[in-house]
């Protein structure tokens, strides 16, 4: 191999690539648009934060002297919080018609109508409460309903416990007067009469005391981690179509420029051209990936961890190089069926974008239908991108990455070797033509 020839190809290709407006669009602008859309439309800055519902309240239980009344409920709504965020933003209406009008127009997520004698009925029996579920957006309808149902459930439990405690206070007073001392209940494990009554009443009010603990993966809950995941999705998507274009147009671009025969007539060999173009492609894809990472981290707020002392992080970089070579190799195979630069580029963009969407690169596999999940499971580029994510977003170790690395290495070797065969065959075809 002739190094001066390889270097000449690298310099020439980089100059032509970065002087072409079309290349700049696909390498920088398009992934930037996707990433910014993801960060500010699909995963907006509020994503991952508890949702605050806009609710309306019509309170007919005014002027009540009861210790619990409509005003108390409005106060509870205003003060309810979840993970430090207000659960409701309350707007009080004079009548139900006005509130329903706003719910129907999508201005509110829901509404409450508090009837007369609401507080009094809660204390001495069962109170009625009308709850309206609205929807400010398609996504929020289901969430609004579950939050409102959850709130009413919680309110019911709270009030029940207050009523139980109040009732127990009276039971204790009257039991001391009228019940024998040291009375135990054998079927309830010989508990004292008072203990038995307390547990029984609490069980009536709230039979199951469930405890909830947040153990969801941070990647799915924190916006920065979601964006970290998506940043590698943008890298994977851009790598796919750009790498395919680089590979599929490697020979045909020279043929169309009229330079192929002159290149082949020089002391440089077709292998020099292949190596030079592959290396320039890797540099281009590397620059593209770096730009996407910078865009992901700085304007968008993606969480990507990097430590030069962590071998897993270097293994992730090697995975990036391998997947780039693999995709360039697949592109060279495409050159067998694409006879012009235009058809090769179009085929590469369509195939690249399609694979990015259906092979679990842009969307998480869990969002995909079963058959697509199968495709994602067997597509080597998805292995590599997921490997990079696991190291640089979720903190996987080098040992954890090693099986992925070996699988990607094997797939890259096979893809590139078949690509080289296709490249040589394409060159022969072009020289004879």
């Amino acid at each position: 191999m002739m190094w001066s020839a390889i270097k000449a190809f690298i310099i020439k290709e980089l100059k032509l690539t970065f002087r072409s407006k079309a290349s700049i669009f696909w390498i920088i602008t398009w992934p930037a648009i996707w990433l910014l859309m993801t960060a500010y439309v699909f995963v907006p800055p509020a994503a991952g934060q508890p949702m605050t519902l806009k609710v309306g309240v019509v309170n007919y239980d005014v002027g009540s002297t009861s210790p619990f009344n409509g005003t108390t409920l409005i106060q509870i709504l205003n003060e309810s919080e979840y993970k430090g965020a207000k659960l409701f933003q309350v707007k009080v209406y004079e009548n139900e018609t006005l509130m329903l009008e706003d719910i129907r127009r999508g201005r509110l997520d829901g509404g409450f109508t508090i009837p007369k004698r609401f507080g009094e009925n809660i204390i001495f029996g069962q109170a009625r409460l009308k709850v309206y579920v609205g929807a400010r957006s398609l996504q929020s309808a289901q969430i609004a309903e579950s939050i409102l149902r959850g709130f009413i459930q919680g309110l019911n439990n709270g009030i029940s416990m207050r009523k139980v405690n109040e009732t127990l206070r009276y039971i204790e007073i009257y039991s001391e007067k009228y019940m024998p001392k040291n009375l135990t209940i054998p079927v309830a494990g010989n508990r004292s009469w008072i203990e038995f009554m307390r547990d029984w009443m609490i069980g009536l009010a709230s039979p199951i005391n469930a405890s909830f603990k947040d153990v969801k993966p941070k990647a799915l809950t924190e916006r920065s981690s979601i964006l970290g995941w998506m940043t590698f999705g943008a890298i994977g998507m851009s790598l796919l179509y750009s790498g395919l274009i680089i590979g599929s147009t490697m020979a045909v671009r020279e043929k169309e420029a009229g330079t192929l025969r002159r290149i082949l007539a020089s002391p440089a060999t077709s292998t020099d051209m292949l190596v030079g173009k592959t290396l320039s492609g890797l540099i281009t894809l590397g620059i593209m990936s770096a730009i996407i990472v910078i865009l992901g981290v700085y304007p968008c707020g993606a969480k990507i961890i990097w430590s030069p002392m962590n071998p897993a992080h270097w293994l992730a970089i090697i995975l990036l190089i391998l997947v780039s070579i693999m995709v360039i190799g697949i592109g060279m195979i495409l050159s067998l069926i694409a006879g012009t630069t235009e058809s090769a580029s179009n085929l590469s963009v369509v195939l690249g974008l399609m694979l990015a969407f259906i092979a679990g690169i842009w969307f998480p596999k869990s969002w995909l239908p079963t058959w697509m999940r199968f495709l994602a499971d067997i597509f080597p580029a998805t292995w590599a991108i997921d490997g990079m994510r696991s190291a640089l977003v979720y903190g996987a170790t080098a040992a954890e990455l090693m099986p992925t690395f070996l699988k990607v290495l094997a797939a890259t070797t096979i893809s590139y070797l078949i690509g080289v065969f296709a490249y040589k065959k394409t060159l022969r075809k072009y020289v004879i033509a």
């Binding site: 002739m2 001066s4 020839a5 270097k7 000449a8 190809f9 310099i11 020439k12 100059k15 032509l16 002087r19 072409s20 420029a257 009229g258 330079t259 025969r261 002159r262 290149i263 082949l264 007539a265 020089s266 002391p267 440089a268 060999t269 020099d272 020289v431 004879i432």
Partner: protein, 331 residues
């Protein structure tokens, strides 16, 4: 017609012992059932311009591709200074300029030169100087930093020549260097080719323009259907295969029945050779002073007006017609 169509008629002078740069021996190349080059042999002397004259499809580009080492012959040998043309090291001795432009429009002239310099294994600080010198020689020095897309067709061709010279080759292969150019630019390209020859380079010039082969070549090989049908200096070929004279008649308007015109005029032509294209007749004759008035009379008798009539000497086109029975550029 001479019985030389399927053999090579050589000028005796070509057999003289001289410094041979290129030897092509019995080379053939087939694409499927078609023989693109069929048993071709010739030698090119150092410092000469050797023309390959033939119509499109004669096999000139395939032959040049094999000399350039791009294509492998099915049989035969090609050696440049005694070395096999297919060896990548030998390719450094050859400067190949294909018919199509070999430059990248989005690179500057100098960047194009630097790229090809790299392909020829040239590196280091002196390369840029050499590139600039070659651009100066081709009159492109002041345009070196401009992108090639701003160049004219003639400038691009001169840049291609400069690129062809980048590796300081012994042998230059120029494939149809002026195809599609207007006469003024063609003339400037010819001047560039002659300047390159003055530097002592050996040039093989493949062309289908007989004026180009006539004007530039020291020796010409006439190719047709993959074979060399005659070889010699242009004058020698014209003397050996051309008619004594040629009468060119420009008609006042195109003939309504060209076949009838050809049939009538054929009676006065040498070996019956008459060409008709558009509103022009070209007649090979042995005795122009006697025949010219008869042709005029015949045409007037057919009701065909004449615009001009010229008695000229034969060209390589006439040689080609005599050897193959066809014109170089049909149409």
């Amino acid at each position: 017609m001479l019985k030389v169509k399927y053999g090579v008629a050589r000028s005796p002078s070509t057999e003289m012992s001289v410094d041979v740069c290129l030897t092509v021996r019995d080379v053939s190349k087939r694409f499927g059932d078609r023989a693109a080059v069929d048993g071709v042999s010739f030698k090119v002397h150092r410092g000469e311009i050797y023309g390959l004259l033939g119509p499109n499809g004669a096999g000139k580009t395939t032959l040049l591709s094999m000399i350039a080492g791009i294509l492998e012959p099915d049989s035969g040998e090609i050696s440049i200074d005694g070395l096999n043309a297919l060896d990548p090291k030998t390719r450094g001795r050859v400067g190949y300029c294909p018919q199509e432009p070999i430059v990248y429009d989005d690179l500057t002239g100098l960047e194009n030169m630097m790229f090809y310099a790299g392909l020829h294994g040239l590196s280091g600080g002196h390369v840029k100087q050499r590139c600039r010198k070659l651009l100066d020689q081709m009159g492109l020095g002041e345009y070196a930093s401009r992108k090639v897309k701003t160049y004219s067709g003639g400038m691009k061709k001169r840049l291609s020549f400069a690129i062809t010279l980048i590796g300081d080759p012994e042998l230059l292969l120029l494939d149809e260097p002026t195809t599609g150019m207007d006469p003024r630019i063609r003339r400037s390209v010819w001047e560039s080719i002659l300047r390159i020859k003055e530097e002592g380079k050996t040039i093989i010039l493949a062309t289908h323009y007989m004026e180009e082969a006539d004007e530039l070549s020291d020796r010409v090989a006439i190719m047709d259907l993959g074979k060399i049908v005659a070889e010699g200096s242009p004058e020698d070929l014209k003397n050996r295969y051309g008619p004594k004279a040629v009468i060119d008649v420009e008609l006042s308007k195109p003939a309504t029945d060209p076949e009838a015109v050809i049939e009538e005029v054929k009676r006065y032509a040498s070996e019956g050779r008459v060409m008709y294209r558009n509103d022009e007749l070209r007649v090979h004759v042995d005795d122009p002073d006697v025949v010219a008035p008869k042709i005029v009379s015949e045409l007037v008798g057919m009701g065909i007006g004449l615009k001009t009539l010229k008695i000229t000497t034969p060209t390589l086109e006439d040689v080609f017609l005599r050897l193959t029975g066809r014109r170089l550029i049909e149409g």
